[in-house]
């Protein structure tokens, strides 16, 4: 669905964040066709028509993707509304979404055969094409059209590595921000499968974090890939048992540690960096 430029719905478009990022997306090539906020149907934001609900927006516009700019406690209802209305890809940006809500969104998305990205994610960027979410997709320091696929749980670490890649003369086919929560709709494995099939991608950079099984699970897919993978895992020095920033960054009982993730990725044939600045060096040496 994101392989070709999507028509985008912005849920929560009338809020300050929704309005600001809609303006940024429109100015940078994103096809934002509609917005929605309950009770605000009939208004316009940055020239984009606003509807009171997703079904009304779908009646008037072709919509491939919905991006949700509502606060954490309302994120599930908004995502459920989009998925039930038939939107095929939904991006939830909010941090602090209750994990039971995430499980419900994910189960619904699976049943509806829809894609969920996030929660607690920075969105997606296709340099030179468009972006959806809260990454500065317009920044020429961070993004340049190219052939490296970058997938990251974290927006800030993703920004750093993208900056290094562009400074090193590389560009990205796409940046996918998956989100830092223990459960997210789109996993590293999903992203690797997508990049493996993507004709615009030659190599993949995977930026993981301590906590959860997602990096180990992705490592199982790497041996079957034709494209090389460079990886970095943040939190190699995370104190055990302490809850670090993202809820996902929890280390317990030796599982989900940076060491176990780095070993699984290296054993699978990925090139694993120990410091962020090594990522671009490893990409150059591919």
């Amino acid at each position: 669905m994101i392989s070709s430029k999507p028509n985008v719905l912005v849920q929560g478009i009338t809020g300050s964040e929704g309005t600001y990022w809609t303006e940024q997306m429109l100015a940078n090539g994103t096809s934002v066709v509609a917005g929605c906020t309950p009770g605000k149907g009939g208004q316009e934001v940055a020239g984009v028509p606003v509807y009171s609900n997703v079904v009304e927006a779908l009646d008037e516009h072709p919509i491939d993707l919905s991006v949700i700019f509502v606060p954490a406690r309302f994120a599930k209802d908004a995502a459920v509304e989009a998925i039930e209305a038939g939107v095929l890809t939904t991006i939830v940006l909010a941090e602090f979404v209750p994990v039971h809500d995430t499980m419900e969104m994910l189960a619904l998305a699976r049943r509806a055969e829809a894609k969920l990205i996030g929660p607690n994610c920075p969105g997606i960027v296709f340099p030179g094409r468009d972006f959806v979410g809260i990454m500065p997709g317009w920044s020429e320091r961070l993004f340049s059209p190219g052939r490296i696929g970058v997938v990251s749980r974290s927006g800030s670490l993703g920004a750093l590595i993208n900056l290094n890649l562009v400074a090193g003369g590389f560009g990205q086919s796409a940046f996918l921000g998956l989100g830092g929560d223990p459960i997210v709709g789109t996993t590293f494995r999903d992203a690797l499968e997508w990049f493996e099939l993507d004709p615009n991608t030659d190599a993949v950079v995977l930026l993981g974090e301590v906590g959860g099984p997602m990096e180990e699970e992705a490592a199982e897919f790497i041996p079957s890939m034709t494209k090389p993978v460079v990886a970095f895992i943040a939190g190699q020095n995370a104190p055990e048992g302490k809850k670090m920033g993202h809820a996902g960054a929890m280390v317990s009982g030796g599982k989900g540690t940076a060491a176990s993730k780095m070993a699984a990725l290296a054993n699978a044939g990925a090139h694993v960096a120990t410091v962020p600045s090594d990522v671009v060096t490893l990409v150059r040496n591919l």
Binding site: R73, E95, F96, V97, P98, V99, H100, D101, T102, M103, E104, L106, A107, L108, R111, P122, I134, M135, P136, S139, R141, L142, S152, R153, S154, G155, S156, L157, G158, A159, L160, L163, G180, P182, I183, L207, E209, V210, G212, P213, M214, E217, F232, A234, G235, Q236, N237, A238, P239, K242, K243, M244, G245, H246, A247, A249, T274, V275, P276, S277
Partner: protein, 381 residues
């Protein structure tokens, strides 16, 4: 949030899961009185929001009320793990025939709830599972349909328990799953779940961890006991995620991913970070108090500011930091690396207001901060 045993038991009892008669008390004399009322031998159990109490000596079996008073006097005010004990649960003893393990948790790999049941419950359940995984039944649950009565019955019948216990066990599993959902639990565990000599089920211990992100709709959870250093508690009050570490390089970065990576780089270059502090999401607008927290740590000998803005605007963070520096006037060397959203203005502000040239390379900034910390330590030694 970890709900202490007594409070968790009150919740499951209100849902219909049997628990032993018991009272939570805050003095040795009250423990004596409670033991007398309950009658017979009692357990005196330290109430702290963490596991491993049994192995830590926090659970004492007492034959008489005098023993209970003595045990409570010893436990109250003592330290158990990271917590001081200010409450003990005095609880009647059950006649135990079997000890089971029952829990509902979240399986991050499947992205859904997981029901676990074993007939070999008790303190060593983890070893039981490690040595013979087949002794712990695991059932992934579809959150949309929930746990079915038939599924619960199949699990119960799958045990080697007396058939007369099967129906009660299945009913209890259904209740347990319902409460896991009702309380936004990350974990709801009964261990041990005793089968008494009369064939009744009773929850001897209960562990409930409620998702912090759901506390806005979980009023039953009650107040949370925070642990940590004085500085960590101060940070918590200001809604910052802050962990004090042993090193001497103060680290200030935006976002959990970049912050952890910065700490990794400090370690990789031979230094030692003094803290983890997340200034990400909306918190990037509060750089001034964040700086105050990092500088309050007496171990900090130099400061490393590493910003790479995506959603977070580095110029807004820089403004906040500059305000903090002017207010606190710290006697400390600071190394900056600033990139991403707002970088041109942020770099200019730091140059003009603080007279510091930000590094273009993060590794250079990291190395300088480590060298500065070492020089400062050497000078003070």
């Amino acid at each position: 949030m970890f709900v202490e045993e007594h409070d968790a038991k009150q919740l499951i009892a209100s849902g219909g899961i049997p628990i032993p008669p018991g009272q939570a008390v805050r003095s040795a004399d009250a423990a004596y009185g409670a033991a007398g009322e309950i009658g017979g031998p009692v357990m005196v159990k330290a109430q702290v929001p963490s596991g491993k109490r049994g192995k830590g000596g926090g659970i004492v079996k007492c034959g008489t009320p005098d023993d209970a008073r003595e045990a409570a006097a010893r436990l109250l005010g003592s330290e158990l793990g990271e917590f001081s004990v200010d409450r003990v649960l005095v609880e009647g003893c059950a006649d135990i025939a079997r000890e089971l393990y029952a829990a509902v948790t979240i399986d991050p790999a499947a992205g859904g709830p997981l029901l676990m049941l074993s007939t070999e419950g008790g303190m060593d359940i983890e070893e039981v599972h490690a040595n013979s995984p087949d002794k712990v039944q695991m059932l992934p649950i579809d959150i949309e349909t929930g746990l079915g009565a038939g599924q619960a019955m199949d699990l119960a019948v799958g045990t080697d328990l007396d058939p007369q216990v099967h129906v009660a066990l299945a009913a209890m599993l259904l209740t347990l799953y319902g409460m896991f959902r009702q309380y936004d639990a990350q974990l709801l565990e009964i261990n041990p779940l005793a089968v008494t000599t009369d064939g009744d089920l009773i929850a001897l211990d209960c562990k409930l961890v409620i998702d912090d992100n759901a506390l806005f709709r979980q009023e039953a959870a009650g107040p949370e006991r925070h642990i940590g250093t004085a500085l960590e508690l101060e940070a918590k009050q200001q809604d910052f995620l802050f962990v004090e570490l042993d090193g001497d390089v103060g680290v200030l970065a935006n976002g959990a991913g970049l912050t952890m990576s910065t700490m990794d780089a400090v370690t990789a270059h031979g230094g030692s970070p003094a803290n983890f502090l997340e200034v990400g999401g909306m918190a990037y607008k509060r750089a001034t108090p964040a700086l105050g927290l990092v500088l309050k740590n007496p171990n900090v000998k130099s400061l490393l500011v590493n910003l790479c803005g995506a959603y977070a605007r580095t110029d807004v963070i820089a403004e906040g930091l500059i305000a903090g520096f002017k207010e606190l006037e710290p006697d400390i060397d600071v190394s900056f690396c600033i990139h991403g959203t707002g970088e041109a203005r942020a770099q200019q502000l730091v140059r003009e207001e603080l007279g510091i040239d930000p590094h273009d390379s993060m590794d250079d900034a990291v190395r300088e901060a480590i060298a500065n910390a070492a020089a400062r330590s050497g000078a003070s030694a």
